[in-house]
Symmetry: C2
Subunit: 420 residues, 2 copies
């Protein structure tokens, strides 16, 4: 009687080694991350309208040709004056100045300010000739054509210097930066209408399985509807990628191989990732390229694999929807977020909460446990198998129990990553 | 000599009371939030394709017509057996069963399992007649047509029950929920192809000022380019709103009034929000509707106003870009995020860091201070006036110093909200 628990090669297994049952050795999550963070994809540049560039990655340093502001401007509503004229002014020694004009934003005043005069000025308006300070309107008394100054003011007070926001010739945003709302505003303010960014990575999503139905069909016979495809499209979009292709493929080696040979940057191949004889994906990736990782010490998602075909990156994601979500967020999503200039970490807000009951894991394995918030506490989801998609919709978020932990006793304070 | 520090009415000022210099009393941020959280806008429903529904708000409870799974399925790759047949099995008392068929996902097996037989089964495949447990392939020895069982197994082991993920007739997602990636997957799995969601709030953005140039024009004379408009479009989009209109309006009361009378759900009117005689926005809002808030005890953004015109909500945002960003995120963004089913709080991830140097505020005022990360510490941005847009692009995030705080000494650990 032959024992079929044939071994999986540690890494880079040859195609022949893949077809077996049971993983000899599962890679710790940390090792997988190390491998993943060494991978890279070159993304070409494209020039796009500024208004569409939020969240995109700047392809080259952005330099300003202009000073911003490009003229001296008032920081307050008030009066532009000569600072030295106010020396000694106080409520007992008021200084009277004649108001000789008004400087409005975009317009300015042709009046020339002297030690006897002032120009009424609005926030953002150009400082008129002669003036070198602005007194806030709130601190002075006004009588028709005159103002009464009751304090001395230093030269430059409430004046925005030329170039104090942006100096002409300076780099204002660095290559590789993921553009924020305020970056778009800054680029607009220096006259840009378009910006050169990296193209989004092109994702191909292939859900394998003879049992999979298209979205919109009612569940029937022993078939199930494609839920991983739509979920992954949302996640890829969230993380800054462009899904160029999302479809169902039968369990047919030729068709799966064709999907691997397609044109894309990143392939997400879902289902058939384990080590049963019907699990085609690892074998086919090992044939077509390099199956670098297969089998990960985590729960769920232990059958996750990944590797390369030339310059393309391939992720083999489990078909169970919770495992698929988990494997995406841990690995594929991490890589995509990095390409998109995001922080690599979980794309979820975290809060610290106490456990209502213990959570059990084992040394050497990383757990992804769905939990509900309950006041200041959290509780694990009762029915939480990798096949139970509703465990991710009923949960408020998840707790990661790391490789070096056996779990936590009740009352332990842990980080909860919130799905919302 | 008349003193022009005329008073601003506390709230709901009459139009005549608005035209003045200096705010009599600024509302604490907390009071503004209280007012804001009492406002609401009715959004109509619309039915959209499931794939476009991520981030949208569910308009009605979603109920499943189906059980998921709708058949008993295997949770493992292994062998479907009769549990009672395994009683007493051990490595010393191995039980031999004949393999009489194979059940694949979507396909099943017509074989009927007895106490002498087993059906090979894959994860997700239907349980064949007669079987009531699945033994993982990893734990048994296999010889061509037979398997050797070395342990007893309980009834129901590794079998996914009908409806254990979703029970037919149950509400799977509640009205008002902001749809996550996994929600889309869940809706797909019950056969939905479209979903009824709330329409996005319709935002009108009007940047006022004779000095404002369109995006793409080089800065010239005393004019500046519209940076607040593009920034707010990005922020509204991020927060789940639909910008139906974004344009520049001269400082002309008739045109500003017309912008207020337009069709929209929320108007963001930028610039001219203070209490100088050229600041038209508060006066015009008080005329056209209800100026509920004007002047807020915060820095920057103290000249922010808000109110209603019938069922429409109007935000008067300061023209200084930092103040505009801050006022948006504190107030307008909060309201929009609430409509979109988001958490109301800041849409930024926070981390706790220590201050490198003190931060000064004053009791009664809320401060929004841009800071840079520096190892485990944070440092305030040096040039940080409300007009210095680059303070928000150089900063890694911001610290909020609340109303009841005078600031923090060095080494204080504070929450930093990260812009990225």
């Amino acid at each position: 009687m032959k024992k079929t628990q044939i071994k999986l090669a540690d890494k880079n297994p040859k195609a022949d080694d893949v077809r077996m049952r049971g993983f000899k050795k599962r890679s710790p999550v940390e090792d997988v991350i190390t491998w993943l963070d060494q991978q890279s994809i070159d993304l070409p540049e494209q020039r796009i309208p500024l208004q569409e560039a939020a969240g995109r990655v700047l392809a080259a340093d952005a330099t300003s040709q202009f000073n911003i502001p490009h003229f001296e401007r008032s920081m307050m509503d008030g009066y532009a004056i000569v600072a030295s004229a106010t020396q000694g002014a106080s409520s007992y020694n008021q200084l009277q100045l004649q108001v000789i004009g008004k400087s409005m934003p975009g317009q300015g005043s042709t009046a020339k300010v002297t030690s006897k005069s002032a120009v009424r000025i609005m926030t953002g308006a150009p400082i008129p000739d002669g003036a070198n300070a602005v007194l806030p309107a709130e601190n002075i008394e006004i009588d028709d054509q005159h103002i009464m100054i009751m304090e001395s003011v230093a030269e430059g007070r409430n004046i925005g210097r030329i170039g104090e926001d942006i100096t002409a010739g300076s780099i204002i945003l660095k290559k590789g930066r993921r553009l924020r709302a305020q970056d778009i505003a800054l680029l607009a303010s220096i006259g840009e209408e378009t910006v050169s960014v990296l193209k989004k990575p092109r994702i191909s999503i292939a859900v394998t399985g003879n049992e999979i139905l298209e979205v919109g069909e009612p569940p029937k016979d022993y078939q199930i509807i494609n839920s991983n495809g739509p979920m992954l499209e949302v996640l890829c979009n969230r993380d800054g990628a462009n899904t160029i292709n999302s479809r169902i493929i039968p369990d047919n080696p030729e068709l799966i191989k064709q999907a691997m040979l397609d044109d894309y940057d990143i392939l997400l191949l879902i289902g058939g990732t384990s080590v049963g004889e019907e699990d085609l994906a690892p074998l086919l990736l090992a044939e077509a390229g390099d199956l670098a990782i297969h089998g990960i010490a985590m729960r769920p998602s232990r059958s996750t694999g990944m590797g390369t075909i030339g310059h393309k990156l391939v992720f083999l994601l489990p078909g169970n929807p919770v495992a698929c979500l988990c494997a995406y967020d841990f690995f594929a999503g991490r890589f995509i977020r990095q390409l998109s200039g995001h922080a690599k970490k979980e794309p979820y807000r975290s809060v610290r909460k106490k456990l209502k009951q213990k959570m059990v894991s084992m040394i050497g394995r990383t757990d992804y446990a769905r939990v509900c918030l309950s006041g200041d506490f959290i509780k694990p989801i009762a029915i939480s198998g990798a096949a139970i998609l509703s465990s991710t919709t009923q949960a408020d978020g998840f707790v990661i129990i790391p490789t070096n932990s056996e779990g936590y006793p009740p009352e332990t304070e842990v980080d909860v990553f919130l799905y919302d």
